[in-house]
């Protein structure tokens, strides 16, 4: 009953709107066609310009109030490069955005229909068109050169002393494995997966014996290159660490990797953000099923001493879980 009433009310609103529209049309038809066109063009040009002003204010104000949210501090080395590229792009596109949109609204207002005026016959101007072909091209080429340079730096080979960790996605959680004391990850085989060996690590291989598998927060040292070996067990996931500007898909069957150098510890970031509960969060960024939104892991960036201390406290997964059980 309630539903019916709501539906009726909505329909009634629409009927009223439609009738008003019809009435306005009937009234306007009394006028001379050209006069009518001029009047309505003025009204509509006004409203269009007004909406432009409103949107300009909305965009302008929100950019300043949300600034700190969307240009957050990058916590990694390559994050800073990305940030600088973003700033350059923001300036260039921002200027173009303001100018073109302003011209659009301004022309719409200025050159609205008047019955006694004629438009200018202006079909072509090759010079003008040439200019606005060349200028964007040059601008984009500059942006491309800047981008490509950084792109190859981001995807260069990791330094040999990089800390090796492995992040494996599955529905709907992350498995994390550290190289352990020898900083080397043992090989894996998906056919070996079972409840005590959820990653399918080959324990026969020596380098896997000291690997650390830990379900707690991910701990990593600051100012040290870290190579993340990324994999997935079931469907495509994506390792996404927004604060480090790090994203790479986890593809089953095709190992991927990403290396980065964190520059700010969790403690320091808490100070910067003035937020004592702040944590770096690892999220999944590729639709992986109904629990896609739920794959959270906290990443703790600590100083190198703390990291060494933490590392020495960890036990080899093989010794504590596999050997102990058999």
């Amino acid at each position: 009953m309630q539903l019916l009433l709501i539906a009726l009310a909505i329909i009634l609103v629409y009927v009223v709107i439609a009738h008003v529209g019809k009435a306005v049309e009937l009234i306007s038809l009394i006028k001379d066609e050209k006069q009518r066109r001029e009047d309505s063009s003025r009204t509509q040009a006004f409203w269009f310009a007004a909406s432009g002003v409103f949107l300009g204010l909305f965009i302008g104000i929100t950019i300043f109030t949300e600034w700190h949210k969307f240009l957050t501090v990058p916590a990694s080395e390559h994050g800073k490069w990305i940030q600088s590229l973003i700033v350059v792009s923001l300036v260039i596109t921002g200027v173009v955005f303001v100018i073109t949109n302003f011209l659009l609204f301004y022309f719409a207002w200025k050159y609205r229909y008047r019955k006694n005026r004629k438009a200018l016959y202006y079909p072509e101007n090759n010079k003008l068109e040439f200019i606005w072909t060349i200028v964007p091209t040059v601008t984009f080429i500059i942006l491309i050169v800047m981008g490509v340079e950084k792109w190859f730096k981001v995807f260069s080979d990791a330094p040999t002393d990089a800390v090796q960790i492995e992040i494996t996605g599955k529905q709907f959680a992350w498995h994390v494995r550290y190289g352990g004391p020898d900083n080397e990850l043992g090989p894996r085989d998906f056919t070996l997966v079972n409840s005590s060996n959820e990653l399918g690590v080959k324990w026969t291989d020596k380098s896997s014996r000291d690997d650390i598998i830990d379900d707690d927060d991910i701990v990593l040292p600051v100012n040290t290159p870290i190579l993340i070996n990324i994999g997935a067990l079931d469907v495509i996931h994506s390792v996404y660490l927004p604060d480090f500007r790090l994203m790479m898909d986890a593809v089953p069957g095709v190992p991927t990797k990403f290396w980065f150098r964190p520059t700010i510890t969790t403690e320091k970031m808490r100070e910067i953000k003035n937020d004592p509960d702040f944590d770096y969060e690892l999220a999944c960024n590729q639709l992986c099923g109904t629990g896609h939104w739920n794959m959270r892991r906290v990443v703790k960036i600590v100083t190198e001493e703390e990291y060494k201390k933490w590392l020495s406290e960890q036990d080899s997964y093989f010794e504590t879980n596999i050997l102990a059980q058999n």
């Binding site: 539903l3 529209g21 909305f58 022309f107 050159y111 792109w151 089953p252 992986c288 939104w293």
Partner: protein
Amino acid sequence: MTTDTIPGQFSMAHTAHHHKQTFLTKYIFSTDHKTIAKQFLLTGMFWAMVGGLFSVLFRIQLAWPDATFPLLETLFGHWFEGGRLSTEAYYGLVTMHGTIMVFFVLTAGMSGTYSNFLIPLQIGARDMASPMVNAISYWLFFIASVVMLASLFLPTGMASAGWTIYPPLSVLPQASPGSGMGMSLWLCSMVFFIASQIMGGLNYISTVLNLRTKGMTMFRMPLTVWALFFTAIIGLLSFPVLFASVVLLIFDRGLHTSFYLSDLYVGGQALSYSGGNPILFQHLFWFLGHPEVYIAVMPAMGIVSEILSVNSRKPVFGYHMMVYSLLGIVVMSILVWAHHMFVSGMNPFLGSVFMLFSMLIAVPSSIKVFNWLTTIWRGNIQMTPAALFCLGFVSMFISGGLTGIWMGNATIDIQIHDTYFIIAHFHLVMGVAAFFGMFAGVYHWFPKFYGRFMNETLGYVHFIITFVGAYLIFWPMHYLGMSGVPRRYYSFHEFRAFAEYDNMNILITTASIVVFFTQFIFVINFFWSIYKGRKMKTMNPWEANSLEWTTPINVNDIHGNWPGDLPTVYRWSYDFSKFEDEERDFIPQTEPLSQREIELGNNH
């Protein structure tokens, strides 16, 4: 005035069509391109409403993730178990929203409607090259629609792997409930849809190439025809590759081959798939997927060029450049697909090449924007709803297009890939903008569709709310995306960093609800005007030059468009305000060059 009242004038060549028409042959199984266009339009409108409704439903979940809405349970049943959208239904709705909007509305609804309607009318042809293939094209689309619609009501849930259906998620029913029957129907529907698009595209291309009337050289065609022609070419070249990828996906699902699958451990057991590569699918998919966005937006570009020119009483600025930039977009759009996969684990070197192409595709787009701006400069802009939607299109296209320069830059893409930033980008540039083009087209050609006008006041209300609303919906998403909020999340409350944007999400959802309900003003206006709208009294109400306005008012009763001979064309369709001292500010394409013009030279 029906065709019977003008005996002898009706073309000899088409007397075959002049038999007695029943309701079925005239409105349902018609081979007349105008009727087929309307069928596409109405089906597209139906799907647009469904797709829009879906977006509102999942936006409600995003704005108020912890609230319950018993009303929605009454309305939508098990999707809203206990008044809350279930995760399965959420991902199903997200998937369907994308699929419906991209394929059924912006591809079939858009180019299906306008290619069918405008190509023959604007190049002066009696019908499509093959009216039969044309009708089959619609009915294949109809079958695709029915299958897709059926999949919505499956008890096991609709397809829920995203509209991009990345395997392995879309292959393994163990991985997602929607990847069972729902995905099967999705793929089945897609096969019909691709067949429909290819048949349509073949027809559009050969019509433009072969059936132009006397004097209608390629460079006298209106830009709408150019845009639709290029759209058809893109579709013809890229849909087959989607077909190949879908076929391989079907092999993987049905025959257990492993084109896309390798090394999987799902649901507690290791599967026997081996040797495949999920990234392979992404390449094949995006080979269509990227051109697809141009398939959606290019007809709108053509429509906007045409309507802006007509309504500002000025020739479109840089006609040739507009054509070449469209051509540039066609060529580039098929070369840049992998910028959707910069962080998918593809070869970084290829990534840089794709970045180069992706950035350069912005050049033809920016040329178009500047040309549109110059078109309205010193014009005499009549603010009809159609013109307003075109202006709105240009604004949306600028705002959404500029962020494309960010996304195309692979290095920046590492940060904003698959976040709300990309949602904002593509909704503005190819979602809302393409819709605006579509609305503009409907308002502009409605008199040609139905012989009556749409109500302008309702059109104005529709425009201004939609325009402002669209910005309010999509602009804040840039902020969300820049701060790292990923797309396709059911709730942001799990993550501390993403949970702080509740206010913004509520703003977005509220705006989207308002905009959604505003669209009903358009729908009501549309159907009301079919029966009660102001009647068209003159043949050329907008005082435009192109050929469709030389057809009689009752053109819908004539299968063959022109009762007499086909018109002959002597000029391009943009001779507006050519001579300041003349009373009339337009010269139709069918008018021979005057002595004065010949003396002036340099005519199109």
